[in-house]
Amino acid sequence: MSVPTRRTMFAAATAVLAVAAALGAFLLPHHAPRHPHPMLNESRAQELTDGYRRDTVARIPGLRYTDSFRSLVACPAEPGRYTLSSRYDLSPDSAAPIALAAVRGYWRHLGYRIVNDTPGQNSQLLVENPGDGFRISVSQRTARYVRLAITSPCLVPAAPPVALVLSQDLATAREAYQRYVAGQLTQLAREVAALRTAVGGGALARARAAWLTAQLTWEHVGAAYGSFGEFADAIDGLPQGLPRGTADARFTGLHRVEYGLWHGEPAARLLPIVDALAADLARLRGTLPQETPPPTDLPLRAHEILEDAQRDHLTGLTDFGGGAGLAETSADVDATEALLDVLAPLVDARRPDLLPAAHAGLDALRQALSAARTGGGWSAPVALSPARRLRIDAALGGALETLAGVPGLLEVAGS
C-alpha cells in the first residue's frame, strides 16, 4: 500500500530567470534583429526549440542526454520581453572529439548564419537562423561533456515571469517545517501513550476519544501524498490497496486502531497494534531529518494536504467507524495554514495578493466546517444536511483553486 510520491518536477521543468546573469554560460547573446521576426509565443517557441534540438542531436553521432534545463531570460534591449533559453547537457559515447561536419553542412544548406566556429579544445559552433532569429550552439567543454544551447528570439510571455526561488530559500523553509513537524510528533507520541492506556483500561469511550486526538495531531503534520514514505503508510495507512482490505496484516496504524475501536475488537487484539504504532512513530521521530520531504516538494503541499482531504476524508474513504471526516478536514486546514506561514516570505515577495486570498478561502472553509459541529463533536460527512454539505464542498473547492497558485510560483532555479 505504498502511496506514490507526487513527482518533484523541477529537474526538467520550466524555470524562470528574470536576471540574465544567473543563466551564465548558456545565454546566447542576441542583437536586436535587423528584420523583426513575427512575434512568437512561448509554446510555439518551445515547439521550435524541440525541433532544433532534435535535428541537431540527430546529426552528431554518439550523443546521449544527461540533463536539460529551460528558462525565460529577460531581453536586455527590450523590456517586458523574454527569450526562451534551453540548455541540454550531452555525453559523447567515445573520447574522440565530436564530429560536427554533418550538422555544420546541414545548417549551411539551410542558410543559417555561422556566428562562431571555433575548433579544437574548447570548440563551439554557433549559428543563427535568419528566418526566425533562433540561435543554436554546440560546444564541447571536455571530452565527456557537450553542451547544446538554443535561444529563441524575444517573446512576449503569457504572464510576466516571477523570480526563481533559490534552493537555499526552500531549504530554510524546509527546516522551519521540520521543526514544526517535530513538535507535532512529540505531542503525538504522548497521545499514543494515552491511547494505549485507554485501550488497555478497556474504557471504550475514552479510547475512542484518545484515538481521535491522536488522529488529528497526525493530520496536523500535513503528510500528504507520500511524504514520510513507508512511515506514513505504517502510521496512517489505508486498507483499500491491500489484497485483504481491512483484514490485511499490512493495514496498521491509526485507522487500524479506529477500525478496531468501532468493530468491537478486544483490547488484547488492539494493544499490539497500538504498540506497533508507537514503535513506528518512534522510528520516524528518530529519522525525521532524512524523512522530511525534499525542499522542492514543500510548495506542492500547499494544496495537496487539502486535496487529500477532499479525496479521502470527504468521500468516506478514511472513515472506519469514527465518522471523523470533518474533524480531519479541519485539522488539514490548520496544517495548510502552518505550511503557508513557512512559505509566506517566498510567496509574498512574488505575489503579495496570493496568501491573503488563500487565508480568506481557508477561513470560509473553517466557518463552513464549524457550522457542522454538533455539541462537542462532529457529525460524519454522510450525516450532513445537503445545505451544510454543499457549503463545505464549495468552500473547500474555492480554497483549493487559490492554493494551487503556490507551487508554480515557487519553482527552483537550477536543477
Binding site: P4, R7, M9, Y65
Partner: protein
C-alpha cells in the same frame, strides 16, 4: 399513424428473428430477407461478424461503447448453452443488419424470450424492439465482444477443468480503491458502435433477450472524442491517448491465444481481456502546472509528441536519454513501455474509452477512463505493465474503482456456430 406503426413492427421483426429462431417455438424458425440499406449506411459500416476471432478487438475503435458485466442466473449447463446461443443470435443479427437471416439458423434451440416473435406472441404483446433506433435498425459498425470471467468456471456448470489456464480473479493493486459492486462478473460484454444510441439499443436488446438467465451486474458507457485538432483522440486529462499501440501485425505474438500455449483447445482464437474502471481526479489534475502534467505523462499536451520529439508519431528514444533528462524515468509512457527488447513481449493492445458520469460524494465530477486491453497472457503483459506503473506519479490523479479479468471467447466462425460452443459441448 397506427398503420405505419404496425408496419414498423413488421419490419423490425428482422431485428428479432435471430432470437425467434433460437426460441424455436413451433416449427420453422422465421427469417426475414437481408435488411435493405438505410440512410446513413456507408461502405465499411458493418464490422464482419463471423471469423476465427471476435470483432471489437482489432476493429478500429468506434466512437461509443458500453462495458456491461453480467452474472449468470441460469443454473443448468443446458440453460447456460441457451444463454450463449441467444447472445450469438442477437449479436449476429444486430451487428450484421439481418444479412444472416436468409438461411436456416442451426444454432440450436433455446427457450429464451419467446415473446420476440410477434407472429408467435399473443395478440397485444409489447413491441419486440425498443424503437430507440427507429424502424430501420442501422448496423453502425456495431461490435459485441463477449468475454467470460473466472467465476463462470466455478462449480455451477462443471466447467472448472476447462478454465483458460491464465484466467484469474482481478487482484487489488496498490493504488486501487475497488468497490465490490463494480468488480468482476461471470460475463463481460463490450459493445461498441459509432453512435451512442446504437450501443444502448444493442445492450437493451441483449438484456431483454436474456432476461431471467443473465443478470446485469454493472455497466458503464464510454466514448472516444473526435481528433482535437488532429491525430489521436484526447482523453479527459487533455492528452492524446492511444498513440502508441501494437497493430494487427503484432496480434499473433501479443493478442490471440493460439494452439500450443497450454490453453484448452476450445480457447484457441480467443484473447484475455482486462477491464479497469479508473476514475480521474480531474479537479486536482487541473490544479497542477502544465510542465508537471507533461513530465508525468512524458508527452506534450498540445501536440502529443514525446518530450524528446516534435510530432505525435515520433518514437521516443530512451537509449539517447538514459538519465531521463528529456523524458523522466518515471514518466507514464516510459514506465508503461520502456521499449527494450526485454519489454517487447509485455506490450498490450489498449482499447479504452472515456467515461463521464455524475458527481462524487465530495461534489467533484465523476469522470475517467474505462481502461481495456487485450493480450495473450495477463501476467506477462497487463500485470507486468501495471506493476511497473506502481510508482507512476500519475497514480495521484487517478483511482481505479472497478473492472475485472475476462477471457474473450474465440470468434463465431459460421452461421451454425455460436459463442462458447466448443467450451460447452
Amino acid at each position: 399513424m397506427s398503420v405505419s406503426r404496425r408496419d414498423a413492427i413488421k419490419r423490425l421483426t428482422a431485428g428479432a428473428v435471430g432470437a425467434a429462431a433460437v426460441a424455436g417455438i413451433g416449427g420453422e424458425p422465421r427469417h426475414l430477407a437481408p435488411r435493405a440499406a438505410v440512410a446513413g449506411d456507408a461502405a465499411g459500416d458493418v464490422a464482419p461478424f463471423h471469423g476465427p476471432h471476435q470483432a471489437g478487438v482489432l476493429t478500429p475503435a468506434q466512437r461509443n461503447a458500453a462495458f456491461a458485466a453480467f452474472d449468470v442466473a441460469a443454473t443448468s449447463p443446458g440453460a447456460l448453452r441457451d444463454v450463449f446461443r441467444a447472445l450469438t443470435a442477437r449479436t449476429r443479427e444486430l451487428a450484421s443488419g439481418g444479412q444472416y437471416g436468409a438461411g436456416p439458423d442451426q444454432s440450436g434451440s433455446a427457450r429464451l424470450a419467446p415473446r420476440d416473435d410477434p407472429d408467435q406472441s399473443p395478440a397485444g404483446s409489447p413491441p419486440p424492439d425498443s424503437g430507440v433506433l427507429g424502424p430501420d435498425v442501422p448496423t453502425d459498425r456495431l461490435t459485441v465482444t463477449v468475454s467470460v470471467g473466472a467465476s463462470l468456471f466455478d462449480e455451477r456448470f462443471g466447467l472448472a477443468a476447462r478454465k483458460p489456464v491464465r484466467l484469474a480473479t482481478m487482484p487489488t493493486f496498490a493504488n486501487d480503491a475497488l468497490e465490490p459492486d463494480w468488480c468482476h462478473g461471470d460475463l463481460m460484454l463490450q459493445l461498441c458502435a459509432d453512435n451512442a444510441d446504437t450501443v444502448h439499443h444493442a445492450l437493451r436488446d441483449i438484456t431483454r433477450h436474456t432476461r431471467g438467465a443473465l443478470q446485469p451486474r454493472y455497466r458503464l458507457a464510454g466514448f472516444i472524442s473526435p481528433p482535437r485538432p488532429s491525430g489521436a483522440a484526447r482523453n479527459l486529462m487533455g492528452f492524446k491517448d492511444g498513440i502508441a499501440n501494437p497493430t494487427a501485425a503484432d496480434a499473433t505474438d501479443l493478442v490471440w491465444v493460439g494452439a500450443g500455449r497450454g490453453e484448452p483447445d476450445w480457447a484457441t482464437g480467443g484473447t484475455y481481456q482486462v477491464v479497469r474502471l479508473i476514475r480521474m481526479l480531474t479537479e486536482f489534475w487541473d490544479r497542477i502546472t502544465l510542465s508537471e502534467q507533461e513530465a508525468i505523462i512524458g508527452r506534450r499536451r498540445d501536440s502529443g509528441a514525446p518530450l524528446d520529439g516534435t510530432a505525435e508519431t515520433d518514437v521516443p528514444d530512451y537509449e539517447r536519454d538514459p538519465a531521463g533528462a528529456l523524458i523522466p524515468l518515471d514518466a507514464h509512457i516510459r514506465l508503461a513501455n520502456p521499449r527494450t527488447t526485454a519489454s517487447a513481449p509485455n506490450r498490450i493492445l489498449r482499447r479504452g474509452y472515456n467515461y463521464d458520469g455524475g458527481l462524487l460524494a465530495n461534489g467533484n465530477l465523476d469522470a475517467g477512463l474505462i481502461f481495456c486491453c487485450y493480450q495473450q497472457d495477463i501476467r506477462r503483459q497487463f500485470e507486468t505493465v501495471q506493476n511497473r506503473l506502481a510508482d507512476d506519479p500519475l497514480n495521484d490523479y487517478i483511482r481505479p474503482f472497478g473492472g475485472g479479468y475476462f477471457y474473450a471467447l474465440p470468434g463465431v466462425v459460421s452461421p451454425q456456430d455460436w459463442y462458447a460452443r466448443a467450451l460447452l459441448s
